[in-house]
Point group: C2
Chain length 364, copies 2
């Protein structure tokens, strides 16, 4: 069976070389007669993999001294709770910039744990067609932190600048675009990302946290929910998701081989530019709702003239092994997720199909 | 490379057939041109796997109506916090039976969140050589719940009865012996278990919870930490660890093929009896600290006359591909973990090595 063109929003496609390596080693990791998932998390074989995943993350993201890299469980959804549990003390307020469904969820979860405030929103009747401009973001200088979501999978928007927030610690959920391009880590006090878009399978979440910021965290919460617990133990306080972290290691090794995050950015821009130019070549038929400066290179959304045509588009594409093109159930339309592992060839196949589909479709 | 004799305490060996299936399907799950880990968690392919993992759990454990089966993340360590967060309201006390290092941790974490009480302990200077008798367990009839740890990996003890606790809800951490034999689920209000001993890789935790008990859970905690959130969404509220759950499905399918939990019990007793009889045949040399009625069939611990001999035992065994025999770093000695996937042949190899080692060792 040929590899599908996988445009899933997440879990998403992974680099073939990373999967082939996993397949080769699945029954016998480096001559040990055991799968890596059968090794102790305190043994030499696994620890080498674990530490390589950490060091590849540091290298690829250019993480300066003074930051810890953690591999945790529970996805971004658990981070929505852990961030305020650790960093929102009583008497303080946390600022949230609301740009879509995921930042809404982060804001709501924090609101169950403490006092929260909207620093900016582009909600406009749940449409979220853009990222706010710097001037629209009203940061409370006394806020415990400001939280942003750098890419919005549902609405297809993406931040193309790191916001200035003065001396307030900046926290970013980068679940759906981490490592799509180089990251200005030093702008952030904490970055978190579920692995299942750009860097691995679901079940692993990566956290990059500034040590100085970590030192300010609350201690009156369960041990397992303190970032400090995991930082002090190199993410080995409890048994980590060893096979998931092994797969992240495999993906990051491939990412490095391909030239690192600058190469990823060129690759992703080339794919996105091809798709957006196809969309823009017939804007009455391919209707892109997102403001141009806010367009995401990870999730490209558009509508067709009718829902019927959208259904037909998705089902005919599926016949050509192009998978995952239906928009989120809450938004409808078409969504093309084009994470790091999606090849330019897949995007060529899709845009060629789009032009073909346009020709045979009734006039808009 | 031949398969190692894997006596790891966890993550531990998995059934070869479950791994071979994963290897076969790793690049192409059921002709879809994608790995199962590249499928959407909301797509048909993954949902069938997910639901099969749930239904196999129900079938194998004979779970009566009125219970939910959940697959969560964060391991038993997160359960140590989630249990009291959900089920220990202000003004109530939770009872803990302390039988080893893990129940200590569960007790301490709960103590950070509410009022806790020791219903029984076999601590005796950190030795924990036995499970308490029914008559020793002093349950507060007004307790929110009673918590036990059914098997103690560090000290090699195991409960061989379900304690009577009156009308107080009974909660069990079965991480290291779930499915080692049939389970009296109806005795328990909540069972949890990290997968990485008997049923899968690390990164998945299984929860079996009585619906009536769940209905009493607190609602004033983060959404992601409420059991109810996951029960209402068939463990698909957020992205689950899809590949981990797929592997659990594979292991449970093999467990069923092998005859289910009665067959597992016979298999595990046969292995344990062989090992304990070898130990007991020379009790001056193989020194088993655990009271006979409390002996674990999952983790069999013993000491040799000197630490030097213990080191030699572990290193010579490793040369014969017998892995994971060093005791926990906090206890020392020898520990043989004999989870479901450890074969009788591996136990024969080990006991044969033990007899050989005894012969060549200096007199005790």
């Amino acid at each position: 069976m040929a590899r599908a063109h996988n445009f899933n929003a997440g879990p998403a496609g992974l680099p073939l070389a990373a999967l082939e390596r996993a397949q080769r080693e699945l029954l016998d990791f480096e001559g040990t007669g055991m799968s890596i998932m059968e090794h102790s998390h305190r043994g030499k074989s696994y620890e080498a993999v674990h530490n390589e995943a950490v060091s590849l993350t540091k290298e690829l993201c250019g993480i300066p001294d003074g930051y810890d890299v953690l591999f945790l469980q529970g996805g971004a959804s658990l981070q929505f709770a852990m961030v305020p549990m650790n960093f929102l003390p009583e008497g303080k307020t946390a600022d949230y910039v609301i740009t879509g469904g995921w930042s809404e969820k982060a804001y709501q979860e924090a609101g169950r744990l403490g006092k929260v405030r909207v620093a900016a929103t582009t909600e406009q009747n749940k449409k979220y067609t853009r990222i706010p401009k710097q001037g629209e973001i009203q940061v409370d200088p006394a806020a415990a932190y400001v939280h942003i979501t750098t890419n919005n999978t549902l609405f297809g928007t993406q931040w193309h600048y790191d916001p200035e927030v003065g001396n307030v610690p900046l926290i970013a959920d980068m679940s759906s675009d981490i490592m799509w391009k180089p990251i200005n880590v030093s702008k952030y006090s904490l970055i978190y990302a579920g692995a299942q878009k750009n860097i691995g399978p679901s079940g692993v979440v990566i956290v990059i946290v500034k040590k100085d910021f970590l030192a300010t965290a609350r201690k009156d919460i369960p041990v397992i929910l303190r970032y400090g617990t995991h930082a002090e133990n190199n993410s080995l306080y409890n048994t980590p998701p060893t096979f998931g972290i092994y797969l992240v290691r495999n993906v990051l090794a491939v990412t490095k081989e391909m030239g690192g995050l600058s190469a990823m950015e060129a690759h992703n821009r080339k794919k996105g530019d091809l798709l957006y130019s196809t969309i823009d070549s017939d804007p009455d038929f391919f209707r892109a709702p997102v403001e141009k400066e806010s367009r995401s290179y990870m999730n490209i959304v558009f509508r067709l003239p009718t829902e019927e045509l959208e259904k037909k588009f998705v089902s005919e594409a599926a016949k050509k092994q192009m998978i995952g093109l239906a928009g989120h159930r809450s938004t409808g339309g078409i969504r093309v997720s084009a994470y790091n592992a999606v090849s330019y060839e897949s995007m060529e196949a899709l845009t060629s199909f789009m032009r073909e589909f346009r020709k045979t479709a009734p006039a808009a």
